[in-house]
């Protein structure tokens, strides 16, 4: 199972991404960054899908993001 973390430019973009990914059947949550990034407070989304697929979906709908990373998790 994979989890992908996507840092979003704004909460509006985070919500747009969540709406898109949820519509594609992916579980997706919006979180605030625990530690402020170099740019300051930010929102990110956690998606239960692998990074490549999430990237592909966001790119195909022109939803911008400022960072993306994936990891394999147990379960």
């Amino acid at each position: 199972m994979y989890k992908t973390f996507v840092r979003m430019p704004s909460v509006t973009h985070a919500m747009s991404a969540k709406k898109l990914l949820s519509a594609k059947g992916l579980r997706c949550d919006i979180k605030r960054s625990i530690k402020a990034s170099k740019n300051g407070c930010s929102h990110y989304i956690i998606v239960n899908a692998d990074e490549g697929y999430v990237r592909e979906l966001l790119d195909s709908y022109s939803i911008p993001y400022t960072g993306i990373s994936g990891e394999a998790v147990d379960g």
Partner: protein, 372 residues
Amino acid sequence: MINFDNAATTFPKPESVSEALSDAVRRYGGNAGRGGHSLTVSTTRKVFDTRQAAADLFGAKLENTVFTFNCTHSLNLAIQGIMSGGGHIIISGIEHNSAARPVYAMAKKKRCTFSIAEAADTDEQTAENFKKLIRRDTKAVVCTIAGNVTGRIMPYKKIAALCKEKNICFIADGAQACGILDIKMSDGINILCTSGHKGLYGPAGTGILISDCKYYIDPLMQGGTGSSAFNLKHPDFLPDSLESGTLNTVGIIALKKGIDFVNKKTISAIYKHEDSLCRRFIKGLEGTDTAIYRKEGLSYVPVVSFNINGVQPEQAAEMLNKHGFCLRAGLHCAPLAHYSLGTEDGTVRFSPSVFNNSSQVDKLVKTIKNIW
């Protein structure tokens, strides 16, 4: 009182809008996009829902849909933001002061030059008038989709096509058209400016700016956006770049209900209803000593400007007010349109909403006939 001044702001509002306003004050007290606690998250979700509804209504991308405080605010953001580097701008000869004044103010400070394209007797000639004024340094064209004095629908699709061909930013003022005509960004509009409190039936203090992002809008204001906070450089992406400071969340949440109301009624049904009231009003005044400012061959949104011969518009409106009718008289903040019409003393404006009916129109006509 019977309100026939809905071109200024629609009243009454749908019950759902009033309820949403009250509900928003009581329940959605977070600051949208700021923080991560449940109060702010629920408010942010509601703002997002309105943004989605507005974007869908105009065929726009949600992220490019910006909330402002009114159409004047939207137009100032668009005009000053597009013209910040100087250049030439063309406005129509029937623009509201919300577009004409920011252009004039920039020109006065030598930050741009401008030309006025006359609204001619035909749409073809009007579009041609714009074309003739285009110069090498023309950066933008501002044109109202429908004028607020006579309700004249401008050939905005033709003008948009012309702008596209010449790579000029087309800024459309939709204040009198949105909710009445089916306006889409795909009509060729680069930046659509409108109010939320007129044809969209939202509360005062709500406005919308939508961009297709082809032209960068330099922000007029900088400030907190809830994003990139470490960076002293203001965000350059929409909607944050044009939404500094706390939004009118209460108004925006209620605006969603206004847009829902319009969608449920349908734009075409709203137009048909209000247009029939205008036609009834015009027909009712036949044979009286009045001047109606409409021309054959042109199209109009449901607004009728008229004058009673020998009576100052303000006097006429005052008298009608005494008889229980709210109509606006004067220049309607659009002096350019009155120069074109030759009505420097102004006009009286009849502008119904979806809540008016034919018997109210008949009462107004009867009153006018009885008084004058």
